[in-house]
C-alpha cells in the first residue's frame, strides 16, 4: 500500500488499487457510520458500487471450460454490509458518534 501511494502521488500513476479493502476499513472503522449519521454524504457522493464475481463464466471467457453450469448456490451481487467487528483497532479518535457527527456537520 505504501508502494502504491508513492507510485500514484510521486510518479502520477493513475490506478486505484485496494478499493474494497479500503472501503471495508472505512466501514469497520465506523467512519462511514459517522458520515451517514451527519447526513453530509449519500451513496451517490460516496460512489457506492458493487464489483463483479469471478466464477464459472470467467473460466469460460478464459477458454478454460467449454460450458458454464449455472447453480442455485451461485453468488449474486448484493448491497449487504458486513457485520461490524467488536475488537477492530481504532482508526480515528474515539469520540461518541453523535459528537463526531455534529463536528462533521459543523465543518
Amino acid at each position: 500500500m505504501l508502494w502504491a501511494l508513492e507510485q500514484i502521488q510521486q510518479k502520477n500513476k493513475t490506478f486505484v488499487p485496494y478499493g474494497r479493502l479500503l472501503s471495508e476499513i472505512f466501514h469497520q472503522g465506523r467512519m462511514l457510520k459517522v458520515l451517514k449519521i451527519s447526513k453530509v454524504v449519500d451513496d451517490n457522493q460516496l460512489g457506492t458500487m458493487v464489483g463483479k464475481y469471478i466464477n464459472g463464466s470467467t473460466l469460460y471467457n478464459m477458454c478454460l471450460v467449454k460450458t458454464v453450469i449455472k447453480m442455485d448456490t451461485d453468488l449474486q451481487e448484493s448491497n449487504i454490509l458486513s457485520n461490524l467487528m467488536d475488537n477492530f483497532p481504532p482508526i480515528c479518535k474515539q469520540d461518541p458518534p453523535d459528537v463526531r457527527a455534529h463536528y462533521v456537520y459543523e465543518h
Binding site: M1, L2, L5, E6, I8, Q9, V16, Y18, G19, R20, L21, L22, S23, E24, I25, F26, H27, Q28, G29, M31, L32, V34, L35, V40, V41, Q45, L46, G47, T48, M49, V50, G51, Y53, I54, N55, G56, L59, M62, C63, L64, V65, V68, I69, M71, T73, D74, L75, N79, L81, S82, M85, F88, P89, I91, C92, K93, R100, Y103, V104, H107
Partner: protein
C-alpha cells in the same frame, strides 16, 4: 470470488487458500466499495514513517533553533511508534496501520506460502499450460511465453532454501 462455482468447473482453489489463510480475506471482498472515497484517499493520503518524523523534527528546529540536538519528547512531539498512512476526510483524521490491514484481512500480519510444489505432478500444470501457453507442451514459445514460463518456475514452484 465464487469458489463453489469455480470448484464445480474443475478449478478448486480451496487448498491454496487454506495454506495462505486467505479465506477470510476473500469473504471480505464481497460487498460494497465507495469509489469516490477511495479515489479521494489515494490523492490525499500521506505516509508517516521515519522520514516524515525527521522532516517534522527539522521543521521544529527551523522554528526554534534552541531545540537542535534535543529528543522528540523535548521538542513536544509524540514518540514514533510505527509506520502509518494518514488521511483526513471531512476533518476526521484517520490512521491506517499494519495492524488495521491485518485485522481487515481476517488473518495475522505474517505472510504464508506453500513450499516445494512439484511442477511435474501439480494439479495446476494443465490449467497453467492452457491459459498461458495455449496448450503447447514445450518448445516454440514466443518471448512473452518464455517470460511466463520463467515466472511459473520461480514464483509458483519455489524451492526450499537449505
Amino acid at each position: 470470488m465464487d469458489f463453489v462455482s469455480l470448484a464445480h468447473h474443475d478449478c478448486d482453489l480451496s487448498s491454496y487458500l487454506r495454506f495462505q489463510d486467505l479465506s477470510g480475506y476473500y469473504s471480505m471482498l464481497d460487498g460494497q466499495s465507495y469509489k469516490n472515497l477511495v479515489k479521494y484517499f489515494w490523492v490525499r493520503a500521506e505516509i508517516y514513517d521515519k522520514h516524515a518524523t525527521k522532516a517534522e523534527e527539522d521543521h521544529m528546529v527551523l522554528l526554534h533553533p534552541k531545540l537542535k540536538g534535543k529528543s522528540r519528547a523535548e521538542m513536544g512531539l509524540k514518540k514514533f511508534k510505527r509506520t502509518e498512512i494518514r488521511f483526513n476526510v471531512m476533518e476526521i483524521p484517520i490512521n491506517i496501520t499494519e495492524e488495521v490491514i491485518g485485522k481487515i484481512c481476517r488473518r495475522t500480519i505474517e505472510g504464508a506460502f506453500q513450499w516445494n510444489l512439484n511442477k511435474k505432478t501439480s494439479d495446476w500444470i494443465s490449467m497453467v499450460r492452457q491459459s498461458l501457453f495455449k496448450g503447447k507442451k514445450d518448445g516454440n514459445y514466443s518471448d512473452m511465453e518464455k517470460f511466463f514460463r520463467s515466472c511459473c518456475k520461480n514464483v509458483f514452484y519455489p524451492k526450499e532454501e537449505v
